[in-house]
C-alpha cells in the first residue's frame, strides 16, 4: 500500500482518502470522520480546479474531497504531497497496491508546486522533519519503505538528519515527480529489494522467455509463424486501409453523413475482403464506441411516494426511490407517486452531447411527454428531467450520446423520436458510433 504524508511543524498528517465529487462541488479538505472543512480548503479548491488548478489539468476531474488524519492550518507545503497522492489515485495506486507480505511504501513529501509541476522549496523543513520522528520510527519498526520527497534546497538543509534507510528523491520539475512515482510503484511490490535490484528483474524475465521459446519444438513453431505471416501479408494488401482510416477520421471529426455514405458504398462492394474489413470496422470500432458511450451514462428513474401511500405529497413525508436503467425494460411505477424524474449523469472523462426524448405509449399511438432535446454534459455533470405523466400509459425513454454536438446525428435522433419502433434512423445512429438506448415500460 502506498501512503502519503503531509508534514507539518506539529505532526505528520496522512492523506486518508480522495473522493471524486460532482463538478459543481468546491474541492475541500476534511479531517476524516468529522466533516470539518480545513481552512486550507479554499487554496485546495484553487489547486484542483482549472484555470489555476493542476489536478484537473492532469486528471480531468474538477472536484475532489480529500480526507486527512489531522489539521493543516496554513501554508502551501501540502501541495507536493497532494499532487503525488492525486497522481497515484489517478493510476489507481493510492493506498491500494498490496504485496503478498503486506508491506507498504510511505511517501513523506513537502513542497510548493506550480501549475507546470515545478517544485519550490518551503520553510521550517527541519521542524517538520523533527515532528515526524515518531512516524519514521514506526515505519522502520514495521520494515516498510520510506520515501522522502523534497526540493534539492530543502534536502540540503536536512542532509545531516536523513538516515540510510530513507529513500530520498530530490524533485524540482515534473520529470522528477514522474520518476518518483514510477520508482514508488515498482518498489511497492518488492519491499525488501532496493531500486537497483528491482530494475534487474525485467532483463531476467526476457532471457528466461527466450530460453523457453527455443527449448520447445521451435522448428515447428517457426513454420507455423511463417505461414501465418505470409497469409497476413497477402491479406494485408487486400484490406482497404486508406478508406478505413478516412472513415475513422470522418467519425472523429463528426462528419456522420459522409461516414454513412461511405459505409453504405462498402456494404454493396462486390469484393469480399473490403466488405468484410468494413463490416469488422463497423462492429469493432463504431458499434463498440456506441456501446461505450451509453455505458458512460448513469441513467436513473427517480420518484417519490408519500410515507402513508396516500395522494398527499408533503415533502417531510416523502420517500425517494431510484431505478437504474441498464436494459431495455422499465419497471412499473406506483400510481400514487408524488414526483418522477429522469436523471442522467456523465460518468465518463469526456464531455458528451446528449439527446433525450420521452413518450407515452397507448397501443400504436405515441404521445410525446418530453420533446426531443439536445444538451451537453461535462464529466460527472448530471441533468434531471421532470417526467409529467398525466394518464397512466407505459413510458418510452429514448436517448443518444455522442462526443460531437452536431445537428447531423441529432436530426436522425429527432426522426427516430417520431417513430420509436422504426429502425432506419436508429440504425443510422448506431452505425456511425452514436450511443443509442431505448427503454420501454410493459405496464405503467
Amino acid at each position: 500500500m502506498t501512503c502519503v504524508f503531509i508534514p507539518t511543524t506539529q505532526h505528520p498528517v496522512e492523506i486518508i482518502s480522495l473522493t471524486e465529487e460532482h463538478s459543481d462541488i468546491q474541492s475541500v479538505i476534511c479531517i476524516t470522520n468529522t466533516f470539518n472543512a480545513l481552512p486550507v480548503s479554499t487554496a485546495y479548491h484553487g489547486f484542483v480546479r482549472r484555470p489555476t488548478g493542476i489536478i484537473q489539468k492532469l486528471t480531468g476531474i474538477p472536484s475532489f474531497r480529500a480526507d486527512v488524519s489531522g489539521i493543516i492550518d496554513q501554508g502551501d507545503s501540502w501541495q507536493l504531497s497532494m499532487l503525488i497522492a492525486h497522481r497515484l489515485h489517478h493510476h489507481d495506486q493510492f493506498r491500494k497496491a498490496h504485496d503478498a507480505a503486506g508491506h507498504m511504501a510511505h511517501i513523506w513529501a513537502s513542497g510548493q508546486v506550480d501549475i507546470n509541476q515545478n517544485v519550490t522549496p518551503i520553510q521550517h523543513i527541519r521542524e517538520k522533519f523533527q515532528a515526524s520522528q515518531s512516524l519514521f520510527d514506526d515505519i522502520r519498526s514495521r520494515g516498510d519503505q520510506l520515501h522522502i520527497v523534497l526540493h534539492p534546497d530543502n534536502w540540503a538543509e536536512l542532509q545531516d538528519m536523513i538516515t540510510e534507510d530513507m529513500i530520498c528523491h530530490r524533485v524540482s520539475v515534473a520529470a522528477d515527480i514522474d520518476q518518483l512515482l514510477s520508482d514508488a510503484r515498482l518498489s511497492v511490490f518488492q519491499p525488501h529489494s532496493n531500486l537497483a535490484t528491482s530494475r534487474l528483474r525485467p532483463h531476467q524475465n526476457i532471457s528466461t522467455s527466450f530460453r523457453r521459446l527455443f527449448n520447445r519444438s521451435w522448428k515447428r513453431r517457426m513454420l507455423g509463424y511463417g505461414l501465418t505471416m505470409s497469409i497476413m501479408i497477402s491479406l494485408q494488401q487486400m484490406i482497404p486501409w486508406h478508406p478505413i482510416h478516412a472513415a475513422m477520421e470522418m467519425e472523429k471529426s463528426g462528419a456522420h453523413v459522409e461516414l454513412i455514405r461511405m459505409l453504405k458504398s462498402y456494404r454493396q462492394d462486390d469484393r469480399f475482403i473490403p466488405r468484410l474489413s468494413f463490416l469488422y470496422f463497423e462492429e469493432a470500432y463504431l458499434k463498440e464506441k456506441s456501446r461505450t458511450l451509453i455505458n458512460q451514462l448513469d441513467m436513473q428513474l427517480v420518484w417519490a411516494v408519500s410515507d402513508d401511500n396516500s395522494a398527499t405529497c408533503g415533502n417531510a413525508q416523502m420517500r425517494w426511490h431510484r431505478y437504474q436503467i441498464t436494459d431495455k425494460t422499465l419497471p412499473s411505477l406506483p400510481r400514487q407517486r408524488c414526483q418522477l424524474y429522469l436523471e442522467i449523469q456523465n460518468n465518463g472523462t469526456d464531455r458528451l452531447a446528449l439527446a433525450v426524448a420521452i413518450h407515452a405509449k397507448d397501443g400504436d399511438t405515441i404521445t410525446p411527454i418530453l420533446q426531443p432535446a439536445q444538451t451537453e454534459l461535462a464529466p460527472t455533470e448530471h441533468i434531471r428531467h421532470p417526467v409529467q405523466t398525466g394518464d397512466n400509459k407505459p413510458l418510452i425513454i429514448m436517448m443518444s450520446a455522442s462526443d460531437h454536438l452536431t445537428m447531423n446525428w441529432y436530426r436522425w435522433f429527432k426522426r427516430w423520436s417520431n417513430r420509436p419502433m422504426g429502425m432506419n434512423a436508429r440504425k443510422s445512429l448506431l452505425d456511425t458510433g452514436i450511443g443509442v438506448h431505448m427503454a420501454v415500460q410493459d405496464k405503467p
Binding site: T19, H22, V28, F35, T42
Partner: protein, 177 residues
C-alpha cells in the same frame, strides 16, 4: 410655590429620571420579553453573535420570535422566503437573492454539501456573510458560513443535521447575515 405644586414637580423629576435611566429601561424591556430574550440579545442573535441556546430560547418565545424575525428582515443581507411546495425539488431551492443546492458526497458516508449560490449583483454588493439562519415551523437554527468563492458559499453538513431537514422543507425561510 405651593406644596402640591412642589410635589407634582418632584414626581415629574423622578419620572424623568426613571425614563432616562438606561438600567431601568433595560429591566423594563427585559420584563416584556420573558426567557431572557431581551431586545439586546435579539439584536446580537440577528448579527450572528448568539449561540444555539439563545436561538432555542427565542424559538420557544412567541413575542421574541416575532421581534427576532422583524430584526432579521432588517438586518439580513439576503433572504429566501418559503417555497411553493409543488415547484420544489427537495435538493434545490431557488430564490431572488440566492439559490440553495444540496448534494450528498459521492463517498456516501453521510457528508452533504450545501451550496448557497448568490446571484451576480447580490454577491458584488456584500461579500461579508457570516451566518445562515433558518426559520421553520417556529424553530430558528443557524450555521456559520465560510467565505464567498466563485459567487457561492459551501458548507458541509451531516445528513442527520436538523438544518439540512429545514433546508429541504419548502416551509423554511432562510436569512443570511
Amino acid at each position: 410655590m405651593t406644596k402640591p405644586n412642589e410635589a407634582i414637580l418632584s414626581d415629574a423629576g423622578i419620572l424623568f429620571d426613571k425614563i432616562t435611566d438606561a438600567h431601568l429601561m433595560h429591566q423594563h424591556v427585559e420584563a416584556t420579553a420573558s426567557d431572557g430574550c431581551d431586545l439586546h440579545r435579539l439584536w446580537q442573535a440577528a448579527n450572528g453573535q448568539a449561540d444555539d441556546t439563545v436561538l432555542h430560547a427565542i424559538s420557544l418565545n412567541l413575542t421574541a420570535r416575532r421581534q427576532f424575525k422583524a430584526i432579521l428582515s432588517q438586518k439580513a443581507s439576503a433572504y429566501q422566503p418559503q417555497q411553493a411546495a409543488a415547484s420544489s425539488d427537495s435538493n434545490i431551492r431557488n430564490g431572488a437573492d440566492f439559490d440553495v443546492r444540496i448534494t450528498p458526497s459521492s463517498s456516501q458516508d453521510g457528508l452533504v454539501y450545501v451550496q448557497l449560490i448568490f446571484h451576480q449583483q447580490a454577491s458584488e454588493q456584500d461579500t461579508d456573510k457570516q451566518m445562515l439562519i433558518s426559520h421553520c415551523h417556529g424553530i430558528f437554527r443557524q450555521k456559520p458560513l465560510t467565505a464567498v468563492q466563485d459567487q457561492r458559499i459551501q458548507i458541509l453538513l451531516h445528513h442527520d443535521d436538523p438544518m439540512l431537514k429545514d433546508l429541504k422543507d419548502p416551509e423554511t425561510e432562510l436569512y443570511i447575515k
